[in-house]
Subunit: 193 residues, 2 copies
DNA sequence: TTTTTTGTTGATTGACGAGTCAATAAACTT
DNA sequence: AAGTTTATTGACTCGTCAATCAACAAAAAA
């Protein structure tokens, strides 16, 4: 039975199952057994590939961050016009891939994890740093010297919209979120003129 | 030894201890024993006054909500000028009493709790409702028909600023947060003219 | 002064869960 | 063919923790 090269496959399955289970229960109180079962294997195997539960969580977090980063990069590459880059970041942030119940719930829980696990905190800081620099770069031609401060508030706005999404019932509405963020952006830009 | 009328005293001590411990560890993984110890009593007594751990958490959440509500009401009562009421809400939201490490961390964790405990979700919905109506009322004379939508985005911004605070190291800076929120407000208002 | 109510805790129960281990099996190497 | 590496799991250990209980103490009520 043992086909070789199972490691990456198993790991990916575990990571996805982790995000799913965290999203489903809405908390980090998810047992390794639950995750392993969802991923179709024994808990012992999960422990075999990842050393500990914490490692599994961190891998899941990296995965979400990677997905998000890829989406942003993709949108950025296709961006056109002076305000194209900022819009691209916003669109990517609220794209169906990222702005979906499980993922948003996972984000929130990773935020909590960051308070007690240094590595999680580091990863979140990386995310914030990239977000800010992407926004700032995109804002530069639009807002000049005011780019950094607008990037800061836009970043907070994005996180706030994520946060509020977890309380809503029903399907997530990325378009509405983008609209709010864009309005904020336009207002800030208009003010600068 | 048994002085009578201990119940409210014990309960309050437990609630405060709970918020402190959640803030300290940054998670809901706090044992009843930890809380009880911090409050200066046995875990059995904590269970005696509150039925379960969940009840303790909910009481702590209500406490934070009550504190916040009181502060907002106070600031609102002293508000003057057309934009006084909105500014009052913002000032109260980021006042040292509310915008402090433990409290902010507790907020974040209650947000997580809301995902699995209906009563917690209800409480948070009450908070969002009050916040929105307070902001809308204050914005009405400033923004007229646009009041609701601005209240929505300002609300998201406030939550976002709270969220970001938990990642920062060092003492919380309420003034900086208020400044960002106010800038957003001004920009939105200017746009409407 | 007996009884009831309120306060209080150490000890215990019972469940659950992370992580380990021994064992089994199929590949791949030499 | 013998030995090594990779895959896989059931069973088990060990710790933790929420919740309960039995028991004791003191005040208030009867």
């Amino acid at each position: 039975m043992p086909k070789l090269g199972m490691e990456p496959i198993r790991k990916e399955a575990l990571v996805k199952a982790t995000i799913f289970e965290i999203g489903r229960t809405g908390s980090l109180d998810v047992t390794v057994s639950q995750i392993a079962k969802r991923a179709g294997m024994s808990s012992a195997l999960a422990h075999h590939y990842f050393g500990s539960k914490e490692d599994i969580f961190l891998a899941a977090m990296r995965h979400i961050l990677t997905l998000y980063g890829a989406e942003v990069r993709g949108a950025l590459a296709a961006a056109e016009g002076v305000d194209g880059r900022v819009r691209a970041v916003l669109r990517a942030s609220f794209s169906p891939g990222n702005f979906r119940r499980e993922a948003v719930s996972a984000w929130l829980n990773f935020w909590v994890l960051a308070q007690s696990v240094p590595e999680a905190k580091r990863l979140l800081a990386v995310y914030q740093g990239r977000l800010k620099s992407n926004l700032t770069a995109g804002l530069r031609p639009l807002a000049g010297a005011r780019a950094p401060e607008i990037a800061e508030s836009l970043g907070a706005m994005i996180d706030g919209l994520y946060l509020r999404e977890v309380l809503k019932s029903g399907a997530p509405d990325g378009a509405a979120a983008v609209a709010i963020a864009l309005r904020h952006l336009e207002a800030e830009l208009a003010r600068g003129v």
